[in-house]
């Protein structure tokens, strides 16, 4: 028997030898023509016919292909840069977005500003998505991301237009430029992935110091607070930054989970922050506070009797108390076993459900449960019965709040109401309504228990005159938590044997002839560095461009040593490119006053020793200090200088490192695109589909570039 699919399916059709097969099934005329054309006799005696999608090729021809040029990329990233530049730096302003509905959004965060724009250009959307993803992980640095990306692109564009022809021939100058740019971006990323962390460890880390989360001694506490203050200052302005910094420190101190490493509590806060915060509009900012326990953002569905008991028992349900009678698609089979009595009808069923509900409530009452937290909406009969028996019911509680409740109380939500065990019952200190702003919520608090997290939970209430501002403050808090998580994330040890390759000892002597004796010292201490050199968690630097100046200098030196060893002028040194691009960031910070840019630069450069042998001695000193465990401000060689720079604020080295890597990865993916395919969808007559394609060089000039799907 022949099996056949429709005429457009690319399926093999196996036919019997007879040609009467065609008459048995109804095909379209075209299909049958193809069938007759393509019928062949195979070895086994059966005939195979292959239906191809005969209109596919035609469909491809109808799609429009567009080339993307490097200058378009530069232009659109420059446009995004000009938007973000307004809010950048300590002098930056805020952007107010309004909707026709009257909703207002106030922000200084680059991520929110960029996501609020109407962008239909596919590359612009790609950049915004990269910024979004980076900001979701690190919490900060979205504006810096766009600025660094723009300056890198401009430099790559400049060097690509000046570059002599590549070895492979291309169709036009634009494709040559694009290929050159792509190549440069790939080399930059390779460089960053292999050498950058070692360079940072060598050049930047000695000028910073570590702040620990565990210590609550005076100095580290102050540095930690300065670190937070810098963040809140850039995000919220200098009016409320002190207040929010104190609130944040209070929140962190309440949530210190003592058993584990300190980043565990920050991670817990990060995961549960939407459930832990309540936004209240219409109050002054100063009335933001912490309240003990958890706030469930729903009101009681049944009137809550005022009981002054010591403890309240609660159960969490994730299903329905009373089975739903009939929903669309349900089939109700009536009857008791095999006997189909005349009495079985829907009335019996509904009375049975009523009785089961009464039994459930009675069971709960026997356990002493007085509060029910339900994830779904309950039936009116359940509500009525709960009111009658005096049980408090909260319905439609969100998933995040249920999961937080479960973690804090130690119980798991039950789905089957028939099987209630004593382990499923949570003990609460109180469960009462609370009025926050215009809404009434449920406020619960938990007993101290050894089994669950050993912490006194508290919730954050954020007040502000308007909704736009409460959103802004809540986002700032969440981003601060994410930033803390990134800054205190332990980094992997860097392998600096690659760095050793670029500083070979014989080249070193050719550059500095008077330091013959030091090369062995350098070699030996670099071996030691290999074990201990790492970007420690919690390493901070004075803000205001210090990181950029130091890394610029380090990359510059690296570039010098590379050019001495490699000695080819045709190859553009990528370290120089990155170094110059990095310098654009402090330029933007000090754009209102060019003199202060030079002042800042000289101040930071004064920290760096000029001679190479002092560099190696510095390295030994740093290694010694690292062995102690933590750097304290006074024992650090640059301690005095660091103290004077503290008034600028502090920023985390780890966050900056992540930022540079993320920018370079975004850059490579941006420059890999060279074609845009326009497709037609139902909603939009013209929409865009991006292809990541690598253009293959061809000898034949007429052939189009290969597009890989």
């Amino acid at each position: 028997m022949a099996t056949c699919q429709g005429p457009c399916d690319p399926e093999w059709v196996r036919m019997d030898g007879s040609s009467s097969f065609i008459a048995e099934y109804s095909f379209t005329e075209k299909a049958s023509a193809v069938l007759k054309q393509g019928a062949r006799k195979s070895v086994e005696g059966s005939v195979y016919v292959f239906f191809s999608k005969y209109n596919t090729f035609q469909g491809l021809k109808m799609l429009e292909l567009e080339h993307l040029h490097l200058k378009h990329v530069v232009q659109l990233v420059s446009a995004l840069e000009s938007i973000v530049l307004r809010s950048f730096g300590p002098e930056g302003g805020q952007v107010l977005f309004t909707r026709d509905t009257g909703q207002v959004m106030l922000s200084r965060s680059g991520k929110r500003i960029l996501s609020a724009l109407h962008l239909e250009h596919p590359l612009a959307r790609m950049v915004v998505e990269c910024v979004w993803k980076h900001s979701t992980i690190t919490g900060d640095g979205s504006k810096t991301f766009v600025l660094l990306l723009a300056s890198l692109l401009r430099m790559i564009h400049a060097s690509a237009t000046k570059e002599p022809h590549m070895s492979q021939p291309y169709n036009s100058t634009e494709t040559t430029e694009a290929a050159c740019a792509r190549h440069l971006a790939d080399r930059l990323l390779d460089f960053a992935l292999t050498e950058l962390d070692a360079l940072i460890a060598l050049n930047v880390l000695p000028h910073g110091f570590c702040v620990s989360l565990e210590d609550s001694t005076g100095k580290t506490e102050q540095s930690f607070q300065t670190f937070l203050l810098t963040f809140f200052n850039t995000r919220l302005g200098n009016v409320y930054c002190d207040f929010f910094r104190d609130l944040m420190c209070e929140l962190l101190s309440h949530w210190k989970i003592k058993n584990d490493q300190p980043s565990f509590s920050i991670r817990f806060l990060n995961n549960n922050f939407p459930a832990l915060r309540t936004q209240v509009s219409g109050f002054p900012v100063g009335s933001s506070r912490l309240i003990e326990g958890q706030v469930i953002h729903r009101d009681f569905a049944t009137p809550c009797p005022q009981v002054n008991e010591q403890s309240v028992k609660a159960v969490v349900f994730s299903g329905y108390l009373q089975p739903k009678l009939l929903t669309a698609g349900d089939v109700l089979e009536l009857g008791c076993g095999n006997r189909a009595t005349e009495d079985s009808s829907i009335v019996h069923f509904s009375s049975w459900t009523g009785r089961s509900l009464e039994n459930i409530i009675a069971t709960l009452q026997s356990f002493g449960v007085s509060v029910l937290l339900c994830a779904l909406k309950q039936s009116s009969a359940a509500l009525a019965l709960a009111t009658q028996t005096g049980m408090c019911l909260v319905e439609c509680v969100s998933e995040e709040e249920i999961s937080l409740f479960a973690q804090l109380s130690g119980v798991t939500p039950i789905s089957d109401c028939w099987r209630i065990c004593p382990e499923d019952i949570a003990t609460l200190t109180f469960c009462k309504p609370i009025l926050l702003g215009a809404h009434r919520y449920v406020h619960v608090d938990f007993h101290d228990s050894e089994e669950r997290l050993n912490v006194k939970p508290c919730s954050l209430v954020i007040c502000a005159p308007g909704e736009g501002q409460t959103d802004q403050y809540a986002c700032a808090f969440q981003d601060a938590i994410r930033m803390l998580l990134t800054a205190w994330e332990p980094m992997h040890k860097s392998n600096i044997t690659a760095l050793m390759r670029t500083f070979p000892s014989n080249k070193f002597t050719s550059v500095h002839k008077d330091n013959m004796g030091d090369e062995t010292a350098y070699a030996s201490c670099s071996m030691n560095l290999h074990e201990t050199c790492v970007i420690e968690p919690g390493c901070v630097l004075p803000a205001g461009g210090t990181f950029e100046f130091l890394l610029h200098h380090g990359l510059h030196q690296y570039g010098h040593s590379c050019s001495v060893s490699v000695n080819t002028s045709a190859v553009v040194p990528v370290s120089e490119l990155l170094a110059n691009a990095l310098l654009s960031l402090p330029r933007h910070i000090y754009s209102h006053n060019p003199k202060s840019f030079l002042q800042a630069q000289t101040r930071v450069m004064a920290l760096i020793p000029k001679h190479s042998h002092t560099l190696s001695s510095n390295v030994i000193q740093t290694e010694g200090l690292l062995e102690d465990g933590k750097l304290s401000l006074h024992s650090c060689k640059k301690g005095s200088m660091a103290l004077t720079l503290l008034d600028l604020g502090l920023e985390s080295v780890s966050c900056k490192y992540h930022l540079v890597l993320a920018v370079l990865q975004c850059l490579t993916s941006l420059l890999r695109v060279n074609k845009v395919l326009r497709t037609h969808t139902v909603l939009h007559t013209k929409s865009h589909k991006l292809l990541n394609a690598r253009s293959e060089s061809t000898e034949d000039e007429d052939e189009d570039e290969v597009v890989s799907l």
């Binding site: 040029h69 200058k71 378009h72 530069v74 232009q75 659109l76 420059s78 446009a79 995004l80 840069e81 000009s82 938007i83 952007v95 724009l117 109407h118 962008l119 239909e120 250009h121 596919p122 612009a124 845009v676 865009h688």
Partner: protein, 216 residues
């Protein structure tokens, strides 16, 4: 080589400044709610923006290139005026050098130079901008200027003897009229005619006075 390098640097700098301006304008429009499209302009290859009314807008074609128009005399009256003044200045300096070479001073005052007024240029400029030129204005102005010139000429140029003769003739006529009016005034009986005759006499006296002033 240095010159080439400088010129190249200037070109590169000008291009960079133009690109910076384009980016800034695009950023402004995006913040105002314009939409960045995936297309680029056919003329200048800049990325297109679209406003709320779904009209496409190219930042460089419609805003930046118009900066050059302000120097174009065909499109800007002020530019035209400054161009004419420059030419006049060049012509006058030439005329001054010629005069100093030893020409008579009377030729200087022969034709007073008319300054082209901005209204003239406005008409020409509006013609350049493809509006309907108002030729009536220009033609109305030019006869006025010529008529203003004519009496000056007539006052300066003719000799004094013919003038005196004309004045004497006028005086005679006026006196005759005066005498006739006086005679009629003596014989008139009605009040109305007397008043009219008296006013005739006073106007004759006024004309005589002005004629006398002219002759002096």
């Amino acid at each position: 080589m240095d010159l080439n390098g400088d010129a190249e640097m200037k070109v590169i700098q000008a291009q960079r400044e133009r690109q910076d301006k384009i980016s800034k304008l695009m950023g402004d429009y995006l913040l105002k709610g314009y939409r960045m499209l995936g297309d680029s302009c056919e003329v200048c290859d800049t990325i297109l923006l679209q406003d709320r009314q779904q009209t496409n807008y190219c930042v460089s074609c419609q805003e930046l290139d118009s900066d050059i128009d302000k120097d174009n005399p065909a499109l800007n009256p002020q530019a035209a005026l400054s161009q004419v003044r420059e030419r006049q200045l060049a012509a006058q300096s030439q005329a001054v050098t010629q005069v100093c070479a030893g020409q008579s001073s009377s030729s200087q005052a022969s034709v007073p130079v008319t300054q082209p007024r901005p209204e003239h240029c406005e008409g020409a400029a509006s013609g350049g901008r493809s509006f309907l030129p108002p030729p009536v204005v220009i033609s109305a102005l030019s006869p006025a200027s010529t008529t203003s010139l004519v009496p000056i000429r007539s006052l300066v140029c003719p000799p004094s003897s013919t003038l005196q003769r004309d004045l004497e003739e006028a005086k005679e006529v006026v006196l005759t009229k005066l005498r006739g009016a006086t005679v009629q005034l003596q014989s008139s009986a009605s009040l109305e005619t007397s008043i009219q005759l008296c006013s005739l006499i006073s106007s004759c006296a006024n004309s005589l006075r002005s004629l006398r002033e002219l002759s002096q």
